[in-house]
Symmetry: D2
Subunit: 150 residues, 4 copies
């Protein structure tokens, strides 16, 4: 018989998969979920040439997008749909074409329908590229799990 | 003879063009600059299917990216390169596939090497989708204008 | 017979008074409400010697506090209690002892139980000292009006 | 002979003292520095009756002020004067009259003249009341140490 922890972990994995599969934005940017746990998620993305801006470095918006995806998978990991209400980012160092970025999100706090998440974005050398903080708002009691499972 | 205002306007147009042309991220997302002035810029983007997330709405990160591009063109419009130090966004309403979003950036304040910009993102009906605020940091005294001009 | 607008204005005035009277923090800092309207409020505070920090200028926290009070009176002006969920401030210029600061708050947006407010803080010369943005969360359907009125 | 670490610690203590002594705002709010280290500081404040707002709880601005003081002492601890450029706070739980709040600040990152600090505010039971993040800007190369020491 599964333990409550194993159940929560399995739910987190199912919820992330259910949210990631139809997420065409994250998929077309080449993101991959590399770790998922209740209220936490890590996502990677390789900086492609078509992600660079006029200064020749990765567009800050796409670094935000990576963080926002990790945040989304983390705050939906209990199977109850939530969306971002706000997000803020501090850019610490540039990322360049070919860099492999990893955004790791975890919950700082939750209360009522709100949750607060911290996301750290590092490159392949472990150097911090940006710090993101987001506030989520849970929509209701619908599930994000697929409606039918074979 | 050109007036100082006309000079500043011409410089803003040249600077935006010089920054937008090599900006593969903004271009691959289909962005277009629709207005440029000293310290202000409006950019549009149509929400494509590959910009939607697992909730079936435009990925918030790409709304941030649109705002960040408008911010970048505005804060580089005096020809001195600046990058985003921080950005924050409040999401007010969802955007959907086919929506045409316009992000309009203007300078709120500048002092020393810092600038503070406000960006409003609306859809094709004028409904506000998000509000963005960014702080820029000027890099130095290099120019972003093209090195050679015929 | 009072118009709906006059009713809303009267409610805003009653709500602000009901919230300000027991607000010992705002009162002990010498704040005064100088304007109130539905979803908007202006509050003044004179920078006293005991409000200065170790750099000899007004403590940034007290500038935030002034802005937060104006925000509170504005977001409670419809008589339904709301509290601040988040606040952020950009400091633009220092304030000094003797300066008379005015914080003017207005609603940018509201949706569900959330509201977004902008507060501009200026000194007696009209120079901007700081820009504040806050997100409010409405508590429920209780009233902040005094329970008994003669 | 003092080690470099001991020197940095002694400098942090001297710098905090030099900044706290003339800080009339922090002193009149009853703040006390309870820990200081290079780039880190903890400050306590007891919520007095004259710190409560119209909802009967501690004014959020004064919680921000406590955090901002801890941030200031932390980011000035290397003896080079710095001021807050921006601050943002998420309010998690109310604080009440008599509560003893502790704000603990530490540096997340620094680069050029900017620093990024995280401050956690807890009450006497260890419950988190608020999370603060601030960005500092170093003013120049002056020292904040006292000019003469006996």
């Amino acid at each position: 018989m599964a333990s409550p922890d194993a159940d929560r972990q399995a739910l987190a994995e199912r919820s992330a998969r259910a949210l990631f599969e139809p997420d065409r934005a994250s998929q077309s940017l080449g993101m991959r979920i590399v770790a998922i746990a209740p209220n936490a998620c890590s996502v990677t993305m390789t900086v492609r040439a078509d992600m660079t801006n006029g200064h020749g470095i990765c567009h800050g918006g796409l670094i935000f997008t990576l963080a926002d995806s990790a945040f989304a998978f983390a705050c939906n990991s209990a199977g109850r749909p939530a969306v971002a209400a706000t997000g803020s980012i501090d850019f610490l160092a540039p990322a360049r074409e070919g860099d492999v970025l990893t955004a790791s999100a975890h919950e700082l706090w939750s209360g009522g329908r709100s949750g607060l998440y911290e996301v750290t974005i590092v490159n392949q050398h472990g150097a911090r590229i940006a710090l993101f903080r987001g506030r989520s708002h849970r929509l209701g009691d619908r599930t994000v799990e697929p409606r039918t499972e074979p």
